[in-house]
Every structure is written in structure tokens, then in C-alpha cells.
Symmetry: C2
Subunit: 373 residues, 2 copies
């Protein structure tokens, strides 16, 4: 005897607000997004001091029941232990199913706090308020949540879509230059996989982007968010085309892992995009000159574009084999057809299985710093 | 500027197979349910010895790549630590997104292993093979997964629907009598909330159920699965009517917590159903005589039906206040209208807010052992 359980189709939608000063009207934004009795505001120790206490004051002044929960700043805190401690803190505060989480911070915080929300009492709503450029254009959009484990980054987590994303570019004004520039890597990647005209706009505006001119920064964020939102909307669980967003990331993750995460994510992605463009060229998938063009624009933005000389091809290949995208022992890459367009694979999918030997050969030919500096 | 992310509606369905001997054809069943390259078979130390090794042998003989992962038997192992260790073991074995999990065991195993699957690489498929009566009629159906934390049971977890549930009643033949009887509590609850005729059938068959006559046991499981499947199908995330399945559980969870989980879940549910029926009668929601009728049938099945004399009303109330179902400080109960029918609340929902004072008064009047023995 067989009994069927059928699950009704549920559609959902949420807004990504890109608006200077939006954090000032957080109470109205939260109330409009979620009917929650209590809010857990999760921030790391740095962001708590910069924006967290102000947010709590604003919320409480408007009658919103908000509790600030903090954890130590840095990728090294993005662990199951921190996730467990934050969950326990919410339980200790007596928060029930009618609570919600506000994640206030960079990608570490949005990933971690959203995973807390995804698993708290089997799931409570989350609103994301990214405070880094990288989180605004990438981490906060698309519902990926998770923590790092000894075997690698983001290997444990869940898909849990936010109810609202509040990106207030004003908070970027105080970002250290290196952290700001790091975030540009994902914006370049979005342009490279989906919008050639936007890529050329970034190239033309490289100087004003570096100056963080508000109108330019806001436009950059807005278009990047539009690109990611469109891709994610069509494929929320990454069963298909969403995989194009992993362009650059197979190499990036290997680089991060090999460096013991000393290489920042944005730097790894920038290098990864150049190297994977070169791999695509070597494989005959990507138009000639693509790697050089990406490298030129990224370098103009202040991003690193070449493999550090002490990373051998064999070590990178070994580290890449542990990637989530690897399937049945092959290495898989999201590749470009040309700038602005991802390449579909022969099997109809959006990742390309490359022979380890071919990858090794291409890596040996990979650009080294002198070519782009 | 606001950008929309829209998530397409996805419907899903899965089968709950109730079939003697089904475990013998596991390879075909798994292949039919999930296209996975590798299977992690998760079982506790007891079930691994009873059924796990046999399952691995069967699977491998049929060419299925299966790896047995075990953890110590008992509710005390249903922790974040065990969840983390199982995830790490799968990562250590190099399992990618093309793997799947087979949970083989009782409710602890199905909850825990399904939570591993829910969060492994942000989610891989899971098939559940419940080996206890309680897991067959309840835990394995509906997609609830999770672990216990210091603040209480199942407070951290996720909804993650299985791709298939394989209930093979033949495995119940070797269950210790106490464990078998414990599972009857959820079957009685299902009948009480949704099917008065099935409740009367259970009452009439109490003796043959106790004898574990195959035809009777199979029919009991089948009808119980049908009831739960129907309720869950309409409300997978427990936003509405699914809450009726929590009948008995506010008190049950308080009892378990107060006892340090020395009271088994099935016993706590049996007592909880009787006490909450009495609460409903006292509140004028439940037909008079309902508590006595449930107590009579459950006692005939060998289940405890009265509060242990050393549990005070105040202590129970305190423990119940930490329940997931509590909202904005009130105590909430799923109550019956009469046997076979749950009672809708005045606000249209399926849980009833009761004044703590009224609950305390009813608990003081609650049945004690002598009334039913």
C-alpha cells in the first residue's frame, strides 16, 4: 500500500531595496515585511558598534521589540558553534515562532544569521541588511545560507529566502578601501556572465567607482542586484542556470582553501574569473581575449587578477576536487561564451566538466602578475 | 529603487510505502525515488546491527554505492554535535551534491539524518526507512527534521520533505514490547483528531494490536499514515490545520522536559492527550467524557494515561511556557471538539490560547492513576 503526500505549490517574492538612508526607516520596513512580535538583530562585534546599536535604538524608539545578539567579527566565526550559540541565545531570550531575525552586516553575517533563522524552530523569517558591497550585490540575494566547516566553506547550510533585503549604500562610505574594492569582484562577475553593456559601463566608470561617487556606486549596486535577482528568480535552488553565478568560483574556492582563507573571497573571485576565462579559452568554449579583458577591468578597479606565484596547479586541482560543484569525480566549471554571456554545456547544463589534465595544462599557462600589472 | 526576486511555485509529492518485506527491495526503491550516485545510510548503533549491515549488503549487491554511518543509539545522541559529526563524515567520504541520505531507524534517526540531509551542501535528498512504529506512523511523515538542544527537544531543525518513505512492518516483529506500545500513542492521537471510526476500530482491536497480528498492525499503520499524510498535504509548514497534530503535545513536551526526558515520547503523548482532552472539557471546547474515553482505550493498549503523581501543575505550566507553540506569552493547545474531530479556535486557527490560571485549575483536577487502572 502506498499513500501519497502532496505538497502544494507555493510561490514567493521579496524585494531588494537599494536606497541611501534606508536604514533610518528600518522600523517601517521591518513592519511592512514581517508580522513578528520580536526581532533578533544579529551583527558581528564591529558592525554592532558601527550600526547595530543605532539600529536597536531606532527600532525601540518606534516600539519594535528588538534584541541585539553579537558574535566575533571575521570569517573564522562563521561556524556551527557560533550558529549554535546564537540559536541558544534566542531560545534563552524566550523567542517563539512569532520572532524574526534581522541580519546586519557583511556576507559572513548574512549567511550565518540567515542560517540561524532557517533552522530556528524549523524556520523563522529573516530580513537582511547587508553593510558591505559584497553582501549587497551578492551574498544577501538568493537565499543561500550556511556556515564553514573544517572541510570547506559553506558546506553546511540551507536555502532560506529573506522576506526583504535592505541595501543602504550610505553605509559603504565608512568601509575600508580594501573591503570596498573586494566587493567589486562579484559585480564584475555579474556583468561578465549576464550583461556585456554593464561590463563596459564598469570599465568606463572604474575611476568614479574607486572614488565611491554615490550616484555611480548606487547604479553599480542596482544593476548588479537586478542581474542576480533575475537569475535567482528563475532557479532558486540552483538546479540549472543559477550555476552561471559560480563563474570564477571553482578556482576561487580552491584558492581560499589552499591559503587557509588568508586570501579574501573577493580577491579569490577576481583571480578565479580571470583563470576560468582562460580555462574556457583553452577549452575552446570562451572567446579569445576574454581573460585579458576581464583582467584589465578588474585590475583597473584595484583587484588582483593573477594566481599568486606560490600556488601550484596540482595543489589547486586537489583543492578544487573537494568543491560542491564537483560531481562523480569530475571538475566542473561555470564558463563564459564571451563577456556578457555564459556558455551552455553540451549536456544542456550550465557547468562544464573539464578533464583534470586539461585544467592542469591551462593552469600552467595561467596569467602571472607581470602580464597585467 | 526596489528589485523583485520572485520564486516560482514548486509542487512536490512523495509516497509512503507500507509494505511487509519492502526493505528487501530497497535497491529498486531507492533508484526509483532518487537519481543519486552515492548513498549515506545513517543508522544508530542498535539498528545498524539489526538492519543496517543487511541493508548495505543488499544495496551493494545491487550495485548501489552505499556507505553506512552510525551514531550512538538513544535520544541523547540527537544533538547538534552528532549532526555535525555525520555531516563531516559525509564530507570526509567525499560525497558531493549527487549523494542522498537513507535514514534507517526510529524517530531519533529519521529526524537527525533528515536534518543532516536538509543542511548538507544546502540540501540533498533523503529517503526514510522507519524501523519503529512511532516513526512509521508519525516521525517519518511530514518533513519535520531537527535536533534537541539544551533548551528543549526539536528546537533547531528544518522542514525537508523526504523523497520516499519505506515502512516495512516486518521490522516491528523484533521490537521490544515497550517500544512497540509506545508507538501506539501517536496512532491513537491521529484517530482522536481526525477519524472517530478508526478510533473505535482501535478500541475494538486493542487485543490483536497488542498481539501484533500482522494484518491488524499493517491496517493500523496504513490508516494512521493516511490521516497524517492528508493533514500534512494541506499544510506542509504548519501554518494552519497541521497544528491539530500537536494535540497532547504541549503537555507531552512539558512532561518530557520536566523528567529530563526519562519519560518516553509515546508515554508523554498518551498522557498528554488525556490531560489536554480534560483541559478542553474544562474550557468548554471538548465534549464531556472525551478524556475518559481516550484514557480507556490507551490504557487497554498498555499506555500510561495519567500524570505521574510527582509532577505538579505549576512545574508543568512552567515547562510548557517554553514550548514552540507558545506565542506572545500565552499557552496554546490543539484541542478536540470530540473524538475524531479537532476544535477550531474562535480566531479561526487550530490552537487555543488558554489562561494559565485555567490550565492550572484543570491540571489540579487532572486524572490520577487510580481512575483508569
Amino acid at each position: 500500500v502506498s499513500v501519497s503526500v502532496t505538497l502544494p505549490a507555493r510561490s514567493a517574492a521579496y524585494e531588494v531595496l537599494v536606497e541611501r538612508g534606508a536604514l533610518g526607516r528600518l522600523p517601517a520596513l521591518l513592519r511592512g515585511a514581517v508580522a513578528a512580535h520580536r526581532w533578533a538583530v544579529i551583527a558581528d562585534s564591529n558592525v554592532a558598534a558601527l550600526h547595530g546599536n543605532a539600529a536597536i535604538t531606532t527600532l525601540r524608539a518606534a516600539g519594535v521589540d528588538a534584541t541585539l545578539l553579537t558574535f566575533p567579527a571575521g570569517e573564522s566565526a562563521k561556524t556551527r558553534d557560533t550558529w549554535g550559540a546564537l540559536s541558544d541565545a534566542m531560545l534563552g531570550a524566550g523567542m517563539g515562532r512569532d520572532c524574526a531575525v534581522l541580519a546586519l552586516g557583511g556576507g559572513v553575517t548574512t549567511d550565518l544569521a540567515a542560517f540561524v533563522a532557517a533552522t530556528y524552530l524549523r524556520g523563522v523569517p529573516v530580513v537582511l541588511a547587508p553593510t558591505s558591497l559584497l553582501a549587497m550585490v551578492d551574498a544577501a540575494i538568493g537565499g543561500k545560507t550556511g556556515v564553514d566547516v573544517p572541510a570547506g566553506k559553506n558546506l553546511v547550510g540551507a536555502f532560506h529566502q529573506p522576506r526583504l533585503v535592505v541595501a543602504d549604500p550610505a553605509v559603504l562610505d565608512t568601509l575600508p578601501v580594501g573591503v570596498f574594492v573586494e566587493g567589486l569582484a562579484e559585480a564584475v562577475k555579474h556583468a561578465a556572465v549576464a550583461d556585456g553593456a554593464h561590463f563596459e559601463w564598469i570599465a568606463a566608470e572604474a575611476r568614479t567607482i574607486g572614488q565611491r561617487r554615490p550616484r555611480t556606486v548606487d547604479a553599480l549596486i542596482r544593476r548588479s542586484v537586478e542581474i542576480k535577482a533575475a537569475i535567482v528568480s528563475g532557479d532558486p535552488l540552483e538546479n540549472g542556470r543559477r550555476a552561471v553565478l559560480n563563474f570564477g568560483h571553482t578556482i576561487a574556492h580552491a584558492l581560499e582553501r589552499l591559503s587557509g582563507y588568508a586570501v579574501p573571497h573577493g580577491h579569490a573571485v577576481s583571480i578565479g574569473c580571470v583563470v576560468e576565462a582562460a580555462l574556457g579559452e583553452a577549452a575552446g568554449v570562451t572567446a579569445a581575449g576574454t581573460a585579458a579583458r576581464i583582467a584589465g577591468v578588474s585590475a583597473a578597479l584595484g583587484l588582483p587578477v593573477a594566481l599568486p606565484p606560490d600556488f601550484t596547479a596540482d595543489a589547486l586541482l586537489g583543492a578544487a576536487a573537494g568543491d560542491k560543484k564537483s560531481r562523480a569525480g569530475t571538475l566542473r566549471f561555470a564558463l563564459l561564451q564571451r563577456i556578457g554571456s555564459a556558455a551552455r554545456a553540451a549536456d544542456g547544463g550550465w557547468t562544464h566538466a573539464l578533464e583534470p589534465a586539461a585544467v592542469a595544462a591551462a593552469l600552467h599557462q595561467a596569467p602571472h602578475p607581470a602580464e597585467y600589472s
